[in-house]
């Protein structure tokens, strides 16, 4: 069932040239986690705030559970929308205990019901023993979990999360991320998750929506976004792609590292670029090869090499071999990918 429909949403802030959100449309079904991802200033947080009711759209509409909550004619204030939100800075009320923070959104219930619901939520985030503490007595990770419990306690129709992990230290983030995704899935929550970190988006999202300059570049499953990027921006942003120059020929695309046997629906001799990632390229030592090793970065499980092709272009390649090759070694590089690569016309 469709939970949320966003149609042609536009928001421009006074005193700015460009729209913060420009004609964005998407839908979200029950129990789905959508990750809104993009560089800072791309409009992802504004989109979230428009859905929450913290901003008013200039045009377009937001429909929540088949009910219009924002359009040109209608504006339902945030307190009547029944959504939950986890703020970037957590926004825990400093004057309330952990228990009272979680209970804050539970209204029109008996005390016993509130006690059960809060207890359940705190148990789930593993903070039952902290219920009498105040926010300033908690660690960053604990605050984050209280914020999540507070957002989930009223069983909202939709949960909005605005870069919820950005204030955590890197070593904490991975663990918290797994824990939070588990909780969201076990509660069958419908979630929009905003992040600027593509790895986090790939991990958290059932689907991803990539935004740039207020516009929706692409929406799809993590695999689609990663392997079948619609635009050069998506390919660049999602996965550190190199863009290998080539020319369309019969039977493939001719590049500086050989013919890539991929048939594209383009006229012969069209100049194109192929998005390739370091794991799509392999090489072996060859004194008369087509590339030169100019850098090697040790990455634990593998070595990442920077190769300069004879055309002058620099590409990256992962080489899992334990034999370490010196900078300056001449090698023969080739495309080793077994899946189809994304091709852009120049």
């Amino acid at each position: 069932m469709t939970k949320l429909v966003v149609q042609n949403l536009v928001k421009r802030f006074p005193g700015t040239q460009q729209s913060a959100v420009n004609d964005i449309s998407f839908e979200l079904s029950d129990n789905e986690i959508l990750a809104l991802v993009g560089p800072s200033g791309c409009g992802k947080t504004t989109t979230l705030r428009l859905i929450a009711g913290l901003e008013r759209p200039d045009s377009g509409s937001v429909r929540l559970n088949q009910r219009i909550v924002a359009s040109e004619a209608v504006f339902i204030p945030p307190e009547q929308r029944g959504v939950g939100m986890v703020f970037q800075d957590h926004a825990l009320f400093p004057h309330l205990t952990v228990y009272d923070n979680v209970a804050f959104g539970l209204r029109g219930k008996t005390q016993a019901e509130v006690r059960t619901a809060v207890g359940e939520m705190l148990h789930m985030v593993g903070l039952l023993s902290h219920s009498k503490r105040y926010p300033h007595e908690l660690s960053g990770g604990e605050r984050q979990r209280v914020a999540l419990a507070r957002a989930l306690a009223p069983r909202p129709v939709l949960v909005l999360m605005d870069e919820p992990f950005s204030s955590l230290d890197a070593d904490l983030r991975a663990g918290v991320r797994e824990h939070v995704r588990g909780i969201l899935k076990s509660m069958r929550a419908t979630v929009i998750f905003v992040t600027h970190d593509q790895e986090e988006a790939l991990y958290m999202g059932d689907r991803l929506a990539v935004l740039q300059k207020g516009e929706l570049e692409q929406i799809g499953t993590p695999e689609e976004i990663f392997h079948e990027s619609n635009t050069r921006f998506v390919a660049e942003f999602m996965g550190d792609s190199d863009f290998l120059k080539g020319i369309v020929r019969h039977g493939g695309i001719q590049t500086a590292i050989g013919l890539v046997p991929q048939i594209v629906d383009l006229p012969i001799s069209t100049p194109v670029e192929i998005a390739i990632r370091a794991d799509d390229v392999d090489f072996h030592v060859d004194g008369s090869g087509n590339a030169l090793i100019i850098d090697r970065f040790f990455r634990g499980a593998f070595n990442l090499y920077r190769l300069r092709l004879d055309t002058g272009q620099v590409i990256h390649a992962i080489n899992p071999h334990t034999n370490i090759l010196a900078v300056g070694t001449r090698v023969q590089a080739y495309v080793s990918a077994e899946h189809s690569l994304t091709v852009f016309t120049k």
Partner: protein
């Protein structure tokens, strides 16, 4: 965060306290503690009849009077201060930039000078406004009297609310927008949000403001005496100056200080564990609330407060001053009273307050250094001890110094130096707080760098630390100067014959009914206070 972390590592490296510094701070603490302890000793050792006599007749009434005034004014100041802060910080009130200044400026007007102006305007018989109404209608028209409890509560509220206004204004400013947004998301309307989230989250700031007001009311002498409302402070003053009953004054002082410490303690209790945590990343100011049809009424309310507490007193003082200068008789009185003139009063005011400011800042340095660089129980205790001056009214310090000096240092008796010592004791907390906060903002690694490059600890202090914390020290000094300039009861009780300051002269002349003559001195006092005050306000974010 960053600072505390560096502080911690610093602790590990240099946990040995410098004995020189500890000695200096200890001496300062002793200097502060002795007058306080002496009052208690005298109160306890007073003859039992003095206690009995006082308990039978006076104390309960004084207690009730004082507490009622403290509660009324603190409540009034909270209501006024928070409302004004909300209107100027969080709404689209017209002219709010200029209002921010005007709402803070009454701090430069001593409450008794405001009281003199309001009294002369509203006095039931002979006041300007009742007179005007009588002439207009041909018969007396009943007007609210500024005398007694309600008058004192009204006038003190007018000149005390800026404490609450400044502290809650700063709190409104630093409050994170997302707190209120979270409240909306979880189902509260904008009005519910103000009462359930915004104000409770601001509570620490509001409580700090309320505490300052409450302690100031306990210490207030001039206004309550003027408006004929008896509190502990004014009763002690009468005992000391008129009847000269020192044991009765000691008993009353002991109780007054106990009351003040009680207020301090209950504030700490009430504060509890819920603390205002400055939130970390990406602070965003909360959006302004459109006033809509309330724009004009809100504007008029703010204008009313500003008029009663600033425009009217300053305007009236100006008119009186001009009349004084136009009248040759008043002029000659002004410039030659006995062997002294106007210039002497200015000079006395300035040098005694400046001396107090310099001494207080110098004394606060070792205390601040010890508390910030070597935080442990002892240094914290010393720092707290140096801040009890807040809770000790001027009359009590005067009494204690009279008794102490008479007994142990008779050569100091009736010298201006005792007046300066009283100022220092009373206003030292402001200097200590300023020094501590300036030092807290200074990364210890700067001092470590100087030590690494071959400076001794004393050289480091002079070449690195002092220049860097100078603005903070100046702010502390300005506060001490400002409040010493206004200090009335301690000056009246301790001054040697003939040592007249502006504050004393205003008080004496106004008490004798020479308003025109008092006006130029009062106006000058206000201006002299307004200068350091505007320096202080400029340091605050909201006045930039």
């Amino acid at each position: 965060m960053e600072l505390t972390r560096t502080n911690l590592t610093y602790q590990k490296i240099r946990s040995r306290i410098s004995p020189r510094l500890a000695l200096a701070a200890g001496l300062v603490a002793l200097f502060v503690a002795v007058p306080l302890a002496y009052i208690f000793i005298r109160a306890v050792s007073a003859e039992p009849e003095a206690w009995q006599r006082l308990f039978q007749e006076r104390i309960w009434k004084l207690f009730g009077n004082t507490l009622a005034l403290v509660i009324a004014v603190t409540g009034g100041a909270l209501l006024t201060g928070v409302t004004m802060a909300f209107l100027t910080e969080r709404t689209d009130l017209p002219g709010k930039k200029i209002f921010r200044w005007m709402l803070a400026m009454p701090l430069a007007i001593p409450a008794y000078i405001g009281g003199i102006v309001h009294l002369s305007l509203l006095r039931p018989r002979g006041g300007v406004i009742p007179q005007l109404l009588e002439n207009l209608f041909g018969q007396p028209v009943p007007t609210p009297s500024p005398l007694g409890f309600w008058g004192a509560a009204f006038i003190l509220t007018l000149f005390m609310y800026p404490y609450v206004y400044l502290l809650s204004g700063a709190a409104f400013r630093t409050l994170h927008a997302s707190l209120e947004e979270a409240s909306r998301i979880f189902g509260r309307t904008p009005i519910q949000t103000i009462f359930q989230v915004t104000l409770p989250a601001l509570r620490p700031g509001l409580m700090a403001g309320a505490l300052l007001v409450a302690l100031d009311i306990l210490a207030e002498y001039g206004t309550v005496a003027l408006l004929r409302y008896e509190t502990f402070s004014s009763a002690i003053f009468v005992q000391l100056s008129g009847r000269y009953d020192r044991s009765a004054a000691s008993v009353l002082s002991g109780i007054l200080v106990a009351l003040a410490i009680g207020i301090l303690w209950s504030e700490l209790q009430f504060q509890g564990r819920a603390r205002f945590t400055q939130m970390e990343s990406n602070w965003r100011p909360a959006p302004l609330m459109p006033l809509g049809k309330w724009r004009i009424p809100a504007f008029l309310v703010v204008l009313g407060v500003v008029s009663a507490s600033l425009l009217l007193p300053v305007g009236v003082l100006l008119v009186w001053s001009i009349q004084a200068f136009l009248d040759p008789e008043t002029m000659s009185m002004l410039f030659h009273t006995g062997s002294q003139g106007f210039g002497t009063y200015i000079w006395n005011s300035l040098w005694s307050s400046s001396a107090a400011a310099v001494i207080a800042v110098l004394l606060s340095l070792p205390v601040g250094l010890l508390a910030v660089r070597y935080p442990n129980r002892v240094s914290k205790f010393i720092s707290r001890l140096c801040q009890v001056g807040y809770a000790i009214p001027g009359v009590v310090i005067a009494l204690s110094l009279v008794l102490l000096v008479n007994r142990f240092l008779p050569f100091l008796y009736a010298t201006p130096l005792v007046v300066v010592i009283a100022y220092v004791l009373r206003h030292m907390p402001q200097a200590v707080r300023a020094s501590e906060s300036a030092l807290n903002q200074l990364s210890p690694s700067l001092e470590e760098a100087a030590r690494m490059m071959g400076r001794t600890s004393l050289q480091t202090l002079i070449q690195v630390t002092l220049p860097l914390i100078l603005p903070g020290l100046l702010a502390g000094g300005s506060l001490v100067f400002l409040t010493s300039l206004k200090e009335l009861p301690a000056t009246l009780l301790l001054r040697p014959a003939g040592f007249d300051t502006l504050a004393v002269r205003v008080w004496v002349w106004a008490g004798e009914g020479f308003y025109f003559q008092a006006a130029p001195a009062a106006l000058l006092l206000v201006l002299a206070s307004a200068l350091p005050l505007s320096f202080l306000l400029r340091r605050e974010q909201i006045f930039k």
